[in-house]
């Protein structure tokens, strides 16, 4: 049972991956011409209806084996032939196709995936589409490849990406909107200053932290003991305990604690970290290395 489930899962996954890998979902029907009287000619030199597919992705898509239809109930009406190198459509490229059925005004053309079921895209052809005019989808944003079907018939542009006035370069746009360069200059100067101002603020704060201007406040409990208190405690202990060194050790511990030179995880426990010297440092020992 487990094995069968895994097999089904693997088949589903591989199917999903193969569909995704081909990016068939990134294909759109971008333009259709029904009455082609004076426009594009086919390989026989005849004016035939055509439609255009666009790959909106950044990868190559093999559209061979996909179907075109004008009837959802008959999804496999026309299969795009396989085994042709030209069926591989590069990133953001378009291809003109002549479907093997009559394209009619008022119908909807569907692009069906290679499985013969999944509708990838569709386009509705207006019933009043004039001759030598096309219905098309236009990229409203070339970067995001955001397409929208235009209601107005347009002059066909077979083989070219359909876009509306947004193909102008940045320089052309600046030349149009800011011919004297004042806006760009002010914007750029502000951005340069803003970027370096942010760095100034960050590094001022960082510098203050690292140079010790912002000292950490002593923990609760520590604030009640200052250096004078520590000295007083040490003197009192000295009187009490005599000269056996206990007082000096306690005074040193309190001093180190106040200086933050010891790191205690538990409160009220003071640890003096052992320091290395030439007597306990391994590299300074006079022993020969063991071979």
């Amino acid at each position: 049972m487990k094995k069968r489930l895994l097999t089904i899962l693997a088949i589903i996954l591989s199917g999903a991956v193969s569909l995704r890998a081909q990016n068939l979902s990134d294909l759109i029907i971008s333009e259709v011409v029904v009455e082609n009287e004076t426009g594009l000619v086919d390989e026989n030199g005849e004016h035939t209806p055509w439609l255009e597919l666009t790959n909106t992705s950044q990868g190559t898509v093999n559209y061979a084996g996909c179907y075109l239809t004008d009837n959802k109930d008959v999804p496999k009406k026309y299969m795009i032939p396989k085994g042709v190198i030209a069926n591989r459509l590069g990133a953001r490229q378009v291809v003109v196709i002549r479907p093997g059925f009559e394209i009619r005004k008022g119908s909807t053309i569907y692009l069906i995936s290679t499985d013969g079921k999944t509708i990838i895209d569709s386009i509705k052809i207006p019933s009043d589409l004039p001759a030598d005019m096309s219905v098309r989808k236009i990229a409203m944003d070339n970067k995001k490849m955001d397409f929208k079907t235009m209601q107005e018939p347009a002059v066909p542009s077979p083989g070219l990406m359909n876009s509306e006035g947004n193909t102008e370069s940045g320089a052309e746009k600046v030349a149009r909107t800011d011919p004297h360069g004042g806006v760009l200059t002010l914007t750029s100067v502000s951005v340069v200053f803003a970027a370096l101002l942010i760095l100034l603020i960050i590094f001022t704060i960082m510098g203050n932290v690292f140079s010790g201007k912002y000292k950490r406040k002593p923990k609760k409990g520590k604030s009640s003991i200052d250096a004078d208190t520590a000295a007083a405690i040490a003197m009192a202990l000295d009187l009490e305990c005599g000269d056996d060194g206990t007082a000096a050790a306690i005074a040193t511990a309190i001093h180190l604690y106040l200086e933050d030179s010891v790191h205690d995880s538990e409160s009220f426990v003071i640890t003096i970290t052992p320091r290395s010297s030439s007597w306990n440092n391994k590299k300074d020992m006079f022993r020969k290395p063991v071979r």
Binding site: G170, A175, T187, S188, L196, L199, L200, G207, F210
Partner: protein, 378 residues
Amino acid sequence: MSQIFESLQQFWQFTGFANCAWQNLVMILIGIFFITMGIVKEWEPLLLVPIGFGMIIGNIPMFPGLNIGIYEDGSVLNILYQGVKQGWYPPLIFLGIGAMTDFSALISQPRLILIGAAAQMGIFGAYLLALLLGFAPNEAGAIGIIGGADGPTAIFLSSKLAPDLMGAIAVSAYSYMALVPVIQRPIMLLLTTKKERLIEMPKPRKVSQRERIIFPIVGFLTTAFIVPSGLPLLGMLFFGNLLKESGVTKRLANTASGPLIDVVTTLIGVTVGASTQADKFLTGKSAMIFGLGLLSFVIATASGVLFVKFINLFTKNKINPLIGNAGVSAVPDSARVSEVVGREANPSNHLLMNAMAPNVAGVIGSAVAAGILLGFLG
């Protein structure tokens, strides 16, 4: 016999003598002048000598179609030139610059960072002037970047915005970088009083290694998020600096700041020089680019100095305006100029370490400015 004579005649057609034009000779003389300045005056020899020799290489008259010229597809020079044309070399140089630059002066005196922003006014001043002279916005942006006093940035931006002008822009940028002491000194003296030149500044504090490691990471994140279009330059600059400061990638830092930058500088110098073929270089546009480049340097220097004077109106701890010129990113030449001019006024006043702060801020500032121009005009 006649066959030999014919073949000699044919050979003559292939020689440089038969194809020579006066423009080629002019460019060869300019190349020799660059080499002379580099060797005799020691003005940026690492740049001027390769560029000068490249100019000679690029202007040897030749029979077209031999597939050896820098503009002929597939030729060896053309392949090497792709590093300039496609903008590969500048980020690699920035990697090396990052790996050899000590940002401690900047980290310890962050208040001087804004001088590096003020000096970028040269870029935008030249941009406005170029527009006035009738250059297209993309060309004006590429010309303006000469004011950043940063050769790799100028090449990077002009390769993206105005490839046709790249040769003139690159040669102009590197020439003026070599002439930093000559251009900046009179402007600094003109804009400062004797009293201002005597201002002494405290020594920068010592910066811990932890701060120096944090700097490239924070610096990169901040600038790259603001100007992602400057990513190739900013990324490589800060990455190179992290290699240097991390303390654990010494070998990589040494390679980036040594052999790698040397190789790339050689290639960039020779190919930029060779790209200045007479027919493409000796034009009215090139003359205007050289004029605008000079003006952009003047504006950049003056802006930096005047900005310091402006800051001094509001601060108690006065800054010596002589470090204002160092806001351009000609590292460390412009900082050296601050030191020299400062010591002329007061021999015991050492401004070098203070001037290094705006100097390295200028490197960041010009990369940010290039990113902005690329974002708007690309």
